[in-house]
Protein backbone atom coordinates (compact mmCIF):
# COMPACT_ATOMS: atom_id res chain seq x y z
CA UNK A 1 0.00 0.00 0.00
CA UNK A 2 2.76 2.39 0.96
CA UNK A 3 4.86 1.51 -2.06
CA UNK A 4 2.03 2.41 -4.35
CA UNK A 5 1.40 5.78 -2.76
CA UNK A 6 5.02 6.65 -3.01
CA UNK A 7 5.04 5.49 -6.60
CA UNK A 8 2.09 7.76 -7.27
CA UNK A 9 3.87 10.67 -5.69
CA UNK A 10 6.81 10.05 -7.96
CA UNK A 11 4.78 9.50 -11.12
CA UNK A 12 5.70 11.71 -14.03
CA UNK A 13 3.14 13.39 -16.33
CA UNK A 14 1.58 10.84 -18.65
CA UNK A 15 3.48 10.12 -21.84
CA UNK A 16 2.72 7.20 -24.06
CA UNK A 17 5.83 5.04 -23.75
CA UNK A 18 7.54 4.33 -27.04
CA UNK A 19 7.07 0.60 -26.64
CA UNK A 20 3.30 0.96 -26.47
CA UNK A 21 3.12 3.33 -29.37
CA UNK A 22 4.89 0.98 -31.72
CA UNK A 23 2.33 -1.66 -30.92
CA UNK A 24 -0.32 0.08 -32.96
CA UNK A 25 1.46 -0.24 -36.30
CA UNK A 26 1.59 -3.47 -38.19
CA UNK A 27 -1.10 -6.10 -38.50
CA UNK A 28 -3.01 -5.00 -35.44
CA UNK A 29 -2.87 -1.48 -36.76
CA UNK A 30 -4.53 -2.45 -40.03
CA UNK A 31 -7.17 -4.48 -38.24
CA UNK A 32 -7.92 -1.57 -35.99
CA UNK A 33 -8.08 0.80 -38.93
CA UNK A 34 -10.59 -1.47 -40.70
CA UNK A 35 -12.69 -1.88 -37.59
CA UNK A 36 -12.66 1.83 -37.01
CA UNK A 37 -13.73 2.56 -40.57
CA UNK A 38 -16.62 0.15 -40.20
CA UNK A 39 -17.55 1.82 -36.93
CA UNK A 40 -17.34 5.29 -38.43
CA UNK A 41 -19.54 4.29 -41.35
CA UNK A 42 -22.13 2.61 -39.14
CA UNK A 43 -22.28 5.52 -36.77
CA UNK A 44 -21.91 8.50 -39.02
CA UNK A 45 -23.81 7.42 -42.10
CA UNK A 46 -27.27 7.59 -40.51
CA UNK A 47 -26.37 10.95 -39.00
CA UNK A 48 -25.12 12.34 -42.28
CA UNK A 49 -28.14 10.95 -44.08
CA UNK A 50 -30.35 12.56 -41.47
CA UNK A 51 -28.70 15.94 -41.91
CA UNK A 52 -28.92 15.68 -45.69
CA UNK A 53 -32.57 14.74 -45.43
CA UNK A 54 -33.24 17.75 -43.28
CA UNK A 55 -32.08 19.91 -46.17
CA UNK A 56 -34.27 18.25 -48.79
CA UNK A 57 -37.59 19.39 -50.17
CA UNK A 58 -40.47 16.88 -50.03
CA UNK A 59 -40.15 16.08 -53.70
CA UNK A 60 -36.49 15.11 -53.34
CA UNK A 61 -36.90 12.91 -50.36
CA UNK A 62 -38.02 9.66 -51.85
CA UNK A 63 -36.36 9.74 -55.19
CA UNK A 64 -35.23 6.34 -56.15
CA UNK A 65 -32.36 5.47 -56.39
CA UNK A 66 -31.58 7.55 -53.32
CA UNK A 67 -29.71 10.77 -53.94
CA UNK A 68 -26.86 11.82 -51.76
CA UNK A 69 -25.92 15.21 -53.06
CA UNK A 70 -27.81 15.76 -56.27
CA UNK A 71 -30.55 18.01 -54.96
CA UNK A 72 -31.15 21.65 -54.23
CA UNK A 73 -30.85 22.14 -50.50
CA UNK A 74 -33.46 24.16 -48.70
CA UNK A 75 -33.75 25.48 -45.18
CA UNK A 76 -37.51 25.14 -45.37
CA UNK A 77 -37.65 22.25 -42.92
CA UNK A 78 -35.68 24.18 -40.35
CA UNK A 79 -37.91 27.17 -40.85
CA UNK A 80 -40.98 25.04 -40.26
CA UNK A 81 -39.50 23.51 -37.16
CA UNK A 82 -38.53 26.84 -35.67
CA UNK A 83 -41.85 28.44 -36.56
CA UNK A 84 -43.69 25.71 -34.70
CA UNK A 85 -42.11 26.84 -31.48
CA UNK A 86 -39.25 24.39 -31.33
CA UNK A 87 -36.78 26.85 -29.87
CA UNK A 88 -39.06 27.25 -26.89
CA UNK A 89 -39.00 23.52 -26.36
CA UNK A 90 -35.22 23.55 -26.60
CA UNK A 91 -35.06 26.27 -23.99
CA UNK A 92 -37.21 24.24 -21.64
CA UNK A 93 -35.14 21.12 -22.22
CA UNK A 94 -31.96 23.07 -21.52
CA UNK A 95 -33.51 24.25 -18.28
CA UNK A 96 -34.65 20.76 -17.33
CA UNK A 97 -31.36 19.10 -18.20
CA UNK A 98 -29.22 21.74 -16.53
CA UNK A 99 -31.20 21.62 -13.31
CA UNK A 100 -31.17 17.85 -13.42
CA UNK A 101 -27.40 17.73 -13.81
CA UNK A 102 -26.94 20.20 -10.98
CA UNK A 103 -29.44 18.44 -8.73
CA UNK A 104 -28.07 15.01 -9.47
CA UNK A 105 -24.45 15.89 -8.85
CA UNK A 106 -25.30 17.81 -5.69
CA UNK A 107 -27.27 14.90 -4.27
CA UNK A 108 -25.12 12.07 -5.59
CA UNK A 109 -21.69 13.17 -4.41
CA UNK A 110 -22.47 13.30 -0.68
CA UNK A 111 -24.43 10.08 -0.95
CA UNK A 112 -21.59 8.30 -2.71
CA UNK A 113 -19.14 9.72 -0.21
CA UNK A 114 -21.27 8.44 2.63
CA UNK A 115 -21.65 5.00 1.14
CA UNK A 116 -17.94 4.59 0.66
CA UNK A 117 -16.42 6.29 3.63
CA UNK A 118 -18.96 5.85 6.39
CA UNK A 119 -20.27 2.87 8.20
CA UNK A 120 -23.85 3.46 9.17
CA UNK A 121 -26.68 1.09 9.91
CA UNK A 122 -28.22 -0.63 6.88
CA UNK A 123 -25.45 0.63 4.64
CA UNK A 124 -25.36 -2.54 2.57
CA UNK A 125 -29.07 -2.94 1.98
CA UNK A 126 -29.50 0.76 1.31
CA UNK A 127 -26.89 0.68 -1.40
CA UNK A 128 -28.51 -2.36 -2.91
CA UNK A 129 -31.70 -0.34 -2.89
CA UNK A 130 -29.99 2.33 -4.94
CA UNK A 131 -28.80 -0.26 -7.41
CA UNK A 132 -32.21 -1.89 -7.50
CA UNK A 133 -33.88 1.40 -8.35
CA UNK A 134 -32.06 1.55 -11.67
CA UNK A 135 -34.72 -0.66 -13.29
CA UNK A 136 -37.36 1.72 -12.00
CA UNK A 137 -35.92 4.59 -13.96
CA UNK A 138 -35.43 2.48 -17.06
CA UNK A 139 -38.80 0.82 -17.04
CA UNK A 140 -40.76 4.00 -16.55
CA UNK A 141 -42.93 3.48 -19.59
CA UNK A 142 -44.42 0.27 -18.30
CA UNK A 143 -46.05 1.83 -15.27
CA UNK A 144 -47.02 4.94 -17.19
CA UNK A 145 -50.71 5.23 -16.44
CA UNK A 146 -50.51 4.37 -12.72
CA UNK A 147 -47.58 6.78 -12.40
CA UNK A 148 -49.58 9.47 -14.12
CA UNK A 149 -52.52 8.97 -11.79
CA UNK A 150 -50.23 8.94 -8.77
CA UNK A 151 -48.43 12.15 -9.67
CA UNK A 152 -51.68 13.89 -10.57
CA UNK A 153 -53.13 13.00 -7.17
CA UNK A 154 -50.02 14.47 -5.56
CA UNK A 155 -50.45 17.61 -7.62
CA UNK A 156 -46.97 17.28 -9.05
CA UNK A 157 -47.85 17.28 -12.71
CA UNK A 158 -47.66 20.13 -15.19
CA UNK A 159 -45.37 22.39 -13.16
CA UNK A 160 -41.95 23.78 -13.91
CA UNK A 161 -40.40 21.50 -11.31
CA UNK A 162 -42.19 18.33 -12.45
CA UNK A 163 -39.62 17.12 -14.93
CA UNK A 164 -36.49 18.21 -13.01
CA UNK A 165 -37.76 16.26 -10.01
CA UNK A 166 -38.52 13.17 -12.04
CA UNK A 167 -35.36 13.30 -14.12
CA UNK A 168 -33.09 13.83 -11.11
CA UNK A 169 -34.61 10.80 -9.43
CA UNK A 170 -34.09 8.76 -12.59
CA UNK A 171 -30.44 9.68 -12.92
CA UNK A 172 -29.54 9.57 -9.26
CA UNK A 173 -28.94 5.79 -8.83
CA UNK A 174 -26.46 5.63 -11.66
CA UNK A 175 -24.75 8.84 -10.66
CA UNK A 176 -24.32 7.58 -7.10
CA UNK A 177 -22.82 4.39 -8.35
CA UNK A 178 -20.40 6.06 -10.74
CA UNK A 179 -19.24 8.47 -8.08
CA UNK A 180 -18.88 5.76 -5.54
CA UNK A 181 -16.71 3.84 -7.96
CA UNK A 182 -14.38 6.79 -8.32
CA UNK A 183 -14.32 7.58 -4.63
CA UNK A 184 -13.31 4.00 -3.96
CA UNK A 185 -10.13 4.69 -5.86
CA UNK A 186 -9.22 7.73 -3.78
CA UNK A 187 -6.89 6.52 -1.04
CA UNK A 188 -8.20 6.87 2.46
CA UNK A 189 -4.87 8.16 3.66
CA UNK A 190 -5.77 11.45 2.07
CA UNK A 191 -8.91 11.63 4.18
CA UNK A 192 -6.98 10.71 7.26
CA UNK A 193 -4.28 13.25 6.53
CA UNK A 194 -6.88 15.98 6.21
CA UNK A 195 -8.69 14.93 9.36
CA UNK A 196 -5.41 14.86 11.20
CA UNK A 197 -5.02 18.47 10.09
CA UNK A 198 -8.36 19.24 11.72
CA UNK A 199 -10.78 19.06 8.80
CA UNK A 200 -14.45 18.13 9.35
CA UNK A 201 -16.16 15.44 7.25
CA UNK A 202 -17.68 18.09 5.10
CA UNK A 203 -14.34 19.76 4.52
CA UNK A 204 -12.86 16.41 3.55
CA UNK A 205 -15.64 16.05 1.06
CA UNK A 206 -15.19 19.54 -0.28
CA UNK A 207 -11.41 19.78 -0.44
CA UNK A 208 -10.17 16.20 -0.82
CA UNK A 209 -12.82 14.13 -2.53
CA UNK A 210 -14.40 16.73 -4.77
CA UNK A 211 -11.30 17.79 -6.73
CA UNK A 212 -10.31 14.19 -7.34
CA UNK A 213 -13.72 13.15 -8.63
CA UNK A 214 -13.48 14.89 -11.94
CA UNK A 215 -13.76 11.86 -14.24
CA UNK A 216 -16.84 10.86 -12.31
CA UNK A 217 -18.31 14.33 -12.65
CA UNK A 218 -17.59 14.21 -16.34
CA UNK A 219 -19.14 10.80 -16.81
CA UNK A 220 -22.10 11.34 -14.52
CA UNK A 221 -22.64 14.83 -15.90
CA UNK A 222 -22.72 13.72 -19.52
CA UNK A 223 -24.89 10.71 -18.76
CA UNK A 224 -27.33 12.74 -16.74
CA UNK A 225 -27.56 15.44 -19.38
CA UNK A 226 -28.09 13.00 -22.22
CA UNK A 227 -30.49 10.92 -20.16
CA UNK A 228 -32.74 13.84 -19.35
CA UNK A 229 -32.35 15.47 -22.77
CA UNK A 230 -33.48 12.33 -24.57
CA UNK A 231 -36.20 11.34 -22.15
CA UNK A 232 -39.55 11.07 -23.84
CA UNK A 233 -42.17 9.28 -21.77
CA UNK A 234 -42.37 11.54 -18.74
CA UNK A 235 -41.89 14.60 -20.91
CA UNK A 236 -44.97 13.83 -22.94
CA UNK A 237 -47.24 12.53 -20.21
CA UNK A 238 -46.43 14.44 -17.04
CA UNK A 239 -46.67 17.94 -18.49
CA UNK A 240 -49.44 19.33 -20.65
CA UNK A 241 -48.84 23.00 -21.28
CA UNK A 242 -46.98 23.69 -24.49
CA UNK A 243 -44.77 26.15 -22.61
CA UNK A 244 -43.48 23.38 -20.38
CA UNK A 245 -42.86 20.81 -23.09
CA UNK A 246 -39.33 19.49 -23.58
CA UNK A 247 -37.95 18.73 -27.03
CA UNK A 248 -38.48 15.00 -27.41
CA UNK A 249 -42.28 15.22 -27.58
CA UNK A 250 -41.83 18.13 -30.00
CA UNK A 251 -39.65 15.97 -32.25
CA UNK A 252 -42.02 13.09 -31.91
CA UNK A 253 -44.80 15.36 -33.07
CA UNK A 254 -43.35 15.08 -36.56
CA UNK A 255 -43.92 11.33 -36.47
CA UNK A 256 -47.48 12.48 -36.50
CA UNK A 257 -50.77 10.89 -37.05
CA UNK A 258 -50.68 11.86 -40.71
CA UNK A 259 -47.37 10.19 -41.33
CA UNK A 260 -43.79 10.82 -40.46
CA UNK A 261 -42.47 13.94 -42.04
CA UNK A 262 -38.83 13.17 -42.56
CA UNK A 263 -37.87 16.75 -43.38
CA UNK A 264 -38.91 18.47 -40.15
CA UNK A 265 -38.23 15.28 -38.20
CA UNK A 266 -34.57 15.16 -39.17
CA UNK A 267 -34.28 18.92 -38.90
CA UNK A 268 -35.56 18.90 -35.34
CA UNK A 269 -33.46 15.86 -34.43
CA UNK A 270 -30.36 17.56 -35.83
CA UNK A 271 -31.05 20.69 -33.82
CA UNK A 272 -31.56 18.48 -30.78
CA UNK A 273 -28.17 16.85 -30.83
CA UNK A 274 -26.25 20.11 -31.06
CA UNK A 275 -26.47 20.95 -27.34
CA UNK A 276 -25.41 17.44 -26.46
CA UNK A 277 -22.35 17.75 -28.63
CA UNK A 278 -21.54 21.05 -26.91
CA UNK A 279 -22.01 19.57 -23.45
CA UNK A 280 -19.88 16.65 -24.42
CA UNK A 281 -17.19 18.92 -25.74
CA UNK A 282 -17.12 20.68 -22.38
CA UNK A 283 -17.57 17.84 -19.94
CA UNK A 284 -16.23 15.03 -22.03
CA UNK A 285 -12.71 16.29 -21.70
CA UNK A 286 -12.94 15.58 -18.03
CA UNK A 287 -13.37 11.94 -18.84
CA UNK A 288 -10.62 11.78 -21.39
CA UNK A 289 -8.05 13.79 -19.57
CA UNK A 290 -8.15 11.55 -16.53
CA UNK A 291 -6.99 12.33 -13.04
CA UNK A 292 -4.86 15.38 -12.74
CA UNK A 293 -1.42 14.50 -11.60
CA UNK A 294 0.61 16.60 -9.36
CA UNK A 295 -2.10 17.56 -6.92
CA UNK A 296 -1.25 14.54 -4.85
CA UNK A 297 2.06 14.95 -3.18
CA UNK A 298 3.02 12.49 -0.43
Amino acid sequence: MNTISSNRAAAAPYVVPAKRRRHLIGVSGILIACAFTALAVLNLLPLIWGILTSLKAPSDMFRFPPVLFDFTPTLDNYRRVIESGFLGNMKMSLFYSATTVAGTLVLALPAAYAFDRFNFPLRGPLFLLVVASIPLSLGAAALLIPNYLYFTRLGLTNAWYTLPLIYTAHQLPMAIWIMKGTIEGIPRELDEAAIADGASHFEVLRYVILPLSRPAFGAAGVLTFVGSWNEFVAGSVMVDSPQLRPIQPAIYNFIGFFGREWGPLTASATLAILPILIVFALLGRLIVSGLTKGSVKG
Partner: protein, 285 residues
Protein backbone atom coordinates in the same frame (compact mmCIF):
# COMPACT_ATOMS: atom_id res chain seq x y z
CA UNK B 1 -14.48 4.72 10.89
CA UNK B 2 -16.59 7.81 11.03
CA UNK B 3 -19.55 8.61 13.21
CA UNK B 4 -22.46 6.35 12.43
CA UNK B 5 -25.08 8.96 11.84
CA UNK B 6 -23.15 11.48 9.80
CA UNK B 7 -23.39 9.08 6.90
CA UNK B 8 -27.13 8.93 7.10
CA UNK B 9 -27.50 12.70 6.85
CA UNK B 10 -25.56 12.65 3.63
CA UNK B 11 -27.87 10.16 2.00
CA UNK B 12 -31.19 11.41 3.26
CA UNK B 13 -31.79 14.05 0.55
CA UNK B 14 -31.06 11.56 -2.22
CA UNK B 15 -33.29 8.91 -0.72
CA UNK B 16 -36.10 11.33 -0.08
CA UNK B 17 -36.22 12.11 -3.78
CA UNK B 18 -35.89 8.47 -4.80
CA UNK B 19 -38.65 7.57 -2.41
CA UNK B 20 -41.01 10.17 -3.75
CA UNK B 21 -40.44 9.66 -7.46
CA UNK B 22 -39.35 6.04 -7.81
CA UNK B 23 -40.33 3.93 -4.83
CA UNK B 24 -43.77 5.09 -3.82
CA UNK B 25 -45.24 4.93 -7.33
CA UNK B 26 -44.36 1.24 -7.35
CA UNK B 27 -46.51 0.67 -4.29
CA UNK B 28 -49.27 2.66 -5.88
CA UNK B 29 -48.85 0.65 -9.07
CA UNK B 30 -49.12 -2.56 -7.10
CA UNK B 31 -52.28 -1.37 -5.40
CA UNK B 32 -53.58 -0.37 -8.83
CA UNK B 33 -52.95 -3.86 -10.19
CA UNK B 34 -55.13 -5.45 -7.55
CA UNK B 35 -58.22 -4.04 -9.19
CA UNK B 36 -60.06 -4.61 -12.38
CA UNK B 37 -59.19 -1.57 -14.43
CA UNK B 38 -61.94 -0.29 -16.62
CA UNK B 39 -61.64 2.83 -18.74
CA UNK B 40 -58.46 3.72 -16.92
CA UNK B 41 -59.99 3.59 -13.45
CA UNK B 42 -59.82 0.94 -10.73
CA UNK B 43 -63.23 -0.59 -10.22
CA UNK B 44 -63.69 -3.92 -8.42
CA UNK B 45 -61.07 -5.44 -6.19
CA UNK B 46 -59.89 -8.65 -7.80
CA UNK B 47 -56.81 -9.43 -5.78
CA UNK B 48 -54.14 -11.19 -7.74
CA UNK B 49 -56.44 -11.98 -10.64
CA UNK B 50 -54.54 -9.80 -13.10
CA UNK B 51 -51.39 -11.70 -12.23
CA UNK B 52 -53.06 -15.09 -12.49
CA UNK B 53 -54.36 -14.19 -15.92
CA UNK B 54 -50.78 -13.70 -17.02
CA UNK B 55 -50.19 -17.37 -16.37
CA UNK B 56 -53.07 -18.26 -18.64
CA UNK B 57 -51.40 -16.62 -21.60
CA UNK B 58 -49.72 -19.33 -23.70
CA UNK B 59 -47.58 -16.85 -25.59
CA UNK B 60 -45.75 -15.38 -22.60
CA UNK B 61 -43.36 -18.28 -22.29
CA UNK B 62 -42.10 -17.77 -25.82
CA UNK B 63 -41.89 -14.05 -25.30
CA UNK B 64 -39.82 -14.56 -22.18
CA UNK B 65 -37.35 -16.88 -23.89
CA UNK B 66 -37.00 -14.52 -26.83
CA UNK B 67 -36.39 -11.64 -24.45
CA UNK B 68 -33.70 -13.66 -22.73
CA UNK B 69 -31.93 -14.61 -25.93
CA UNK B 70 -32.11 -11.07 -27.21
CA UNK B 71 -30.83 -9.51 -24.00
CA UNK B 72 -27.99 -11.96 -23.52
CA UNK B 73 -26.60 -11.43 -26.98
CA UNK B 74 -27.17 -7.69 -27.01
CA UNK B 75 -25.44 -7.15 -23.66
CA UNK B 76 -22.58 -9.51 -24.48
CA UNK B 77 -21.74 -7.89 -27.78
CA UNK B 78 -22.18 -4.39 -26.44
CA UNK B 79 -19.74 -5.00 -23.60
CA UNK B 80 -17.15 -6.75 -25.73
CA UNK B 81 -17.15 -4.09 -28.41
CA UNK B 82 -17.31 -1.23 -25.91
CA UNK B 83 -14.44 -2.68 -23.91
CA UNK B 84 -12.25 -3.01 -26.99
CA UNK B 85 -13.13 0.54 -28.02
CA UNK B 86 -12.48 1.96 -24.56
CA UNK B 87 -9.06 0.38 -24.33
CA UNK B 88 -8.21 1.69 -27.77
CA UNK B 89 -9.43 5.21 -26.99
CA UNK B 90 -7.52 5.11 -23.72
CA UNK B 91 -4.33 4.41 -25.60
CA UNK B 92 -4.93 7.03 -28.24
CA UNK B 93 -4.18 9.98 -26.07
CA UNK B 94 -6.23 13.07 -25.59
CA UNK B 95 -6.95 14.63 -28.97
CA UNK B 96 -7.50 11.60 -31.15
CA UNK B 97 -9.24 9.80 -28.34
CA UNK B 98 -11.69 12.66 -28.07
CA UNK B 99 -12.54 12.52 -31.77
CA UNK B 100 -13.05 8.78 -31.72
CA UNK B 101 -15.18 9.15 -28.63
CA UNK B 102 -17.38 11.69 -30.37
CA UNK B 103 -17.89 9.29 -33.27
CA UNK B 104 -18.65 6.46 -30.91
CA UNK B 105 -21.37 8.30 -29.02
CA UNK B 106 -23.26 9.59 -32.07
CA UNK B 107 -25.93 6.85 -32.17
CA UNK B 108 -26.42 7.12 -28.44
CA UNK B 109 -27.11 10.84 -28.38
CA UNK B 110 -29.74 10.83 -31.10
CA UNK B 111 -33.20 10.21 -29.67
CA UNK B 112 -34.02 6.52 -29.75
CA UNK B 113 -36.95 6.59 -32.12
CA UNK B 114 -35.24 8.89 -34.61
CA UNK B 115 -31.98 6.91 -34.44
CA UNK B 116 -33.78 3.62 -35.04
CA UNK B 117 -35.77 5.15 -37.90
CA UNK B 118 -32.61 6.54 -39.48
CA UNK B 119 -30.75 3.26 -39.12
CA UNK B 120 -33.72 1.48 -40.64
CA UNK B 121 -33.90 3.88 -43.53
CA UNK B 122 -30.20 3.84 -44.37
CA UNK B 123 -29.36 0.18 -43.78
CA UNK B 124 -32.59 -1.79 -43.93
CA UNK B 125 -35.05 -0.11 -46.27
CA UNK B 126 -34.90 -1.51 -49.74
CA UNK B 127 -35.08 2.03 -51.08
CA UNK B 128 -32.37 3.13 -48.69
CA UNK B 129 -28.69 3.70 -49.34
CA UNK B 130 -27.24 0.40 -48.23
CA UNK B 131 -29.54 -1.91 -50.11
CA UNK B 132 -29.46 0.26 -53.22
CA UNK B 133 -25.69 0.01 -53.24
CA UNK B 134 -25.91 -3.72 -52.64
CA UNK B 135 -28.28 -4.09 -55.53
CA UNK B 136 -25.95 -2.17 -57.78
CA UNK B 137 -23.20 -4.54 -56.74
CA UNK B 138 -25.39 -7.43 -57.78
CA UNK B 139 -26.76 -8.63 -54.45
CA UNK B 140 -30.47 -9.05 -54.86
CA UNK B 141 -33.06 -10.71 -52.68
CA UNK B 142 -31.56 -9.74 -49.37
CA UNK B 143 -34.14 -10.69 -46.78
CA UNK B 144 -33.71 -8.60 -43.72
CA UNK B 145 -36.86 -7.96 -41.80
CA UNK B 146 -39.06 -10.62 -43.29
CA UNK B 147 -36.92 -13.50 -42.12
CA UNK B 148 -37.27 -14.44 -38.42
CA UNK B 149 -33.60 -15.06 -37.75
CA UNK B 150 -32.28 -12.07 -39.61
CA UNK B 151 -34.93 -9.86 -38.00
CA UNK B 152 -33.72 -10.88 -34.55
CA UNK B 153 -30.11 -10.46 -35.59
CA UNK B 154 -30.88 -7.00 -36.90
CA UNK B 155 -32.67 -6.11 -33.68
CA UNK B 156 -29.67 -7.20 -31.64
CA UNK B 157 -27.35 -5.29 -33.95
CA UNK B 158 -29.34 -2.06 -33.66
CA UNK B 159 -29.61 -2.38 -29.88
CA UNK B 160 -25.86 -2.86 -29.65
CA UNK B 161 -25.22 0.00 -32.05
CA UNK B 162 -27.38 2.34 -30.01
CA UNK B 163 -25.82 1.65 -26.64
CA UNK B 164 -22.11 1.30 -27.30
CA UNK B 165 -21.55 5.01 -26.74
CA UNK B 166 -22.97 4.85 -23.26
CA UNK B 167 -20.89 1.82 -22.30
CA UNK B 168 -17.74 3.40 -23.67
CA UNK B 169 -18.22 6.51 -21.55
CA UNK B 170 -18.51 4.53 -18.35
CA UNK B 171 -15.73 2.08 -19.12
CA UNK B 172 -13.45 4.87 -20.25
CA UNK B 173 -14.03 6.78 -17.05
CA UNK B 174 -13.14 3.63 -15.22
CA UNK B 175 -10.00 3.09 -17.26
CA UNK B 176 -8.88 6.66 -16.75
CA UNK B 177 -9.08 6.38 -13.01
CA UNK B 178 -6.71 3.43 -12.88
CA UNK B 179 -3.33 4.80 -11.91
CA UNK B 180 -0.95 4.45 -14.82
CA UNK B 181 1.91 3.27 -12.67
CA UNK B 182 0.18 -0.05 -12.11
CA UNK B 183 0.56 -0.83 -15.79
CA UNK B 184 3.97 0.82 -15.93
CA UNK B 185 5.20 -1.37 -13.14
CA UNK B 186 3.90 -4.49 -14.80
CA UNK B 187 5.46 -3.52 -18.12
CA UNK B 188 8.78 -3.03 -16.41
CA UNK B 189 8.35 -6.47 -14.92
CA UNK B 190 8.07 -7.90 -18.43
CA UNK B 191 4.34 -8.56 -18.79
CA UNK B 192 2.75 -8.23 -22.26
CA UNK B 193 -0.32 -6.16 -23.04
CA UNK B 194 -2.76 -9.03 -22.82
CA UNK B 195 -1.49 -10.14 -19.42
CA UNK B 196 -1.62 -6.60 -18.16
CA UNK B 197 -5.17 -6.30 -19.40
CA UNK B 198 -6.34 -9.53 -17.86
CA UNK B 199 -4.57 -9.37 -14.54
CA UNK B 200 -4.50 -5.69 -13.75
CA UNK B 201 -6.95 -3.68 -15.85
CA UNK B 202 -9.96 -5.98 -15.84
CA UNK B 203 -10.13 -6.56 -12.10
CA UNK B 204 -9.85 -2.83 -11.50
CA UNK B 205 -12.69 -2.31 -13.95
CA UNK B 206 -15.00 -4.55 -12.02
CA UNK B 207 -17.26 -1.83 -10.73
CA UNK B 208 -17.76 0.00 -14.03
CA UNK B 209 -18.19 -3.32 -15.81
CA UNK B 210 -20.82 -4.37 -13.34
CA UNK B 211 -22.63 -1.07 -13.72
CA UNK B 212 -22.55 -1.31 -17.49
CA UNK B 213 -23.71 -4.93 -17.43
CA UNK B 214 -26.61 -4.17 -15.16
CA UNK B 215 -27.76 -1.06 -16.98
CA UNK B 216 -27.44 -2.66 -20.41
CA UNK B 217 -29.33 -5.75 -19.31
CA UNK B 218 -32.15 -3.73 -17.83
CA UNK B 219 -32.24 -1.32 -20.70
CA UNK B 220 -32.50 -4.08 -23.29
CA UNK B 221 -35.07 -5.93 -21.23
CA UNK B 222 -37.33 -2.94 -20.74
CA UNK B 223 -37.04 -0.60 -23.69
CA UNK B 224 -39.84 -0.74 -26.20
CA UNK B 225 -38.95 1.92 -28.76
CA UNK B 226 -36.24 0.05 -30.66
CA UNK B 227 -38.06 -3.25 -31.24
CA UNK B 228 -41.35 -1.49 -31.85
CA UNK B 229 -39.99 0.85 -34.50
CA UNK B 230 -37.57 -1.59 -36.08
CA UNK B 231 -39.64 -4.75 -36.41
CA UNK B 232 -42.96 -4.23 -34.62
CA UNK B 233 -42.48 -7.67 -33.09
CA UNK B 234 -42.50 -9.43 -36.43
CA UNK B 235 -42.34 -11.30 -38.60
CA UNK B 236 -44.88 -13.38 -36.76
CA UNK B 237 -43.61 -13.44 -33.22
CA UNK B 238 -39.95 -13.64 -34.08
CA UNK B 239 -38.96 -10.43 -32.33
CA UNK B 240 -41.87 -10.06 -29.96
CA UNK B 241 -40.19 -9.39 -26.63
CA UNK B 242 -41.53 -8.44 -23.22
CA UNK B 243 -41.66 -4.64 -23.55
CA UNK B 244 -43.75 -4.96 -26.71
CA UNK B 245 -46.08 -7.25 -24.80
CA UNK B 246 -46.56 -4.62 -22.09
CA UNK B 247 -47.01 -1.86 -24.64
CA UNK B 248 -49.67 -3.81 -26.54
CA UNK B 249 -51.61 -4.59 -23.42
CA UNK B 250 -51.53 -0.98 -22.29
CA UNK B 251 -52.05 0.97 -25.50
CA UNK B 252 -53.49 -1.42 -28.07
CA UNK B 253 -55.79 -3.71 -26.14
CA UNK B 254 -56.14 -1.14 -23.39
CA UNK B 255 -56.07 -3.82 -20.68
CA UNK B 256 -54.32 -1.75 -18.03
CA UNK B 257 -54.75 -4.32 -15.29
CA UNK B 258 -52.82 -6.96 -17.15
CA UNK B 259 -50.27 -4.44 -18.44
CA UNK B 260 -49.51 -3.18 -14.94
CA UNK B 261 -49.34 -6.71 -13.59
CA UNK B 262 -46.87 -7.72 -16.26
CA UNK B 263 -44.84 -4.56 -15.72
CA UNK B 264 -44.62 -5.25 -12.00
CA UNK B 265 -43.60 -8.85 -12.56
CA UNK B 266 -40.92 -7.65 -14.94
CA UNK B 267 -39.81 -5.11 -12.39
CA UNK B 268 -39.48 -7.83 -9.78
CA UNK B 269 -37.48 -9.89 -12.22
CA UNK B 270 -35.26 -6.89 -12.87
CA UNK B 271 -34.49 -6.49 -9.18
CA UNK B 272 -33.70 -10.18 -8.81
CA UNK B 273 -31.40 -9.96 -11.83
CA UNK B 274 -29.59 -6.99 -10.32
CA UNK B 275 -29.09 -8.82 -7.05
CA UNK B 276 -27.92 -11.89 -8.92
CA UNK B 277 -25.37 -9.86 -10.87
CA UNK B 278 -24.08 -8.31 -7.68
CA UNK B 279 -23.84 -11.64 -5.95
CA UNK B 280 -22.18 -13.35 -8.94
CA UNK B 281 -19.56 -10.66 -9.16
CA UNK B 282 -18.91 -11.22 -5.49
CA UNK B 283 -19.09 -7.57 -5.16
CA UNK B 284 -18.59 -6.06 -1.79
CA UNK B 285 -20.23 -2.73 -1.15
Amino acid sequence: MHSRHAGLTYIVPAFALLGLVLFSPVFYGFWFSLFRIQYGAPTDFVGLDNFVRLLDDPTLGGTLSRSTVFTVFAVLFTILIALALSVWIHKLGEKRGFIVQMIVIVPWIISTVVATLLFRWVFVNDIGLALSLARMAGFNDIRLLNDPTSAMTLLIAVSVWKRIGYAVIILLAGLKSIPDDYEEAALIDGANSWQIFRRITLPLLKTPLLLVAIVLTLSNLNTVETPLVLTGGGPGNATRILPIEVFDRAFVNYDLGSATALALVMFLGNILLVLAYVRLAKWKT
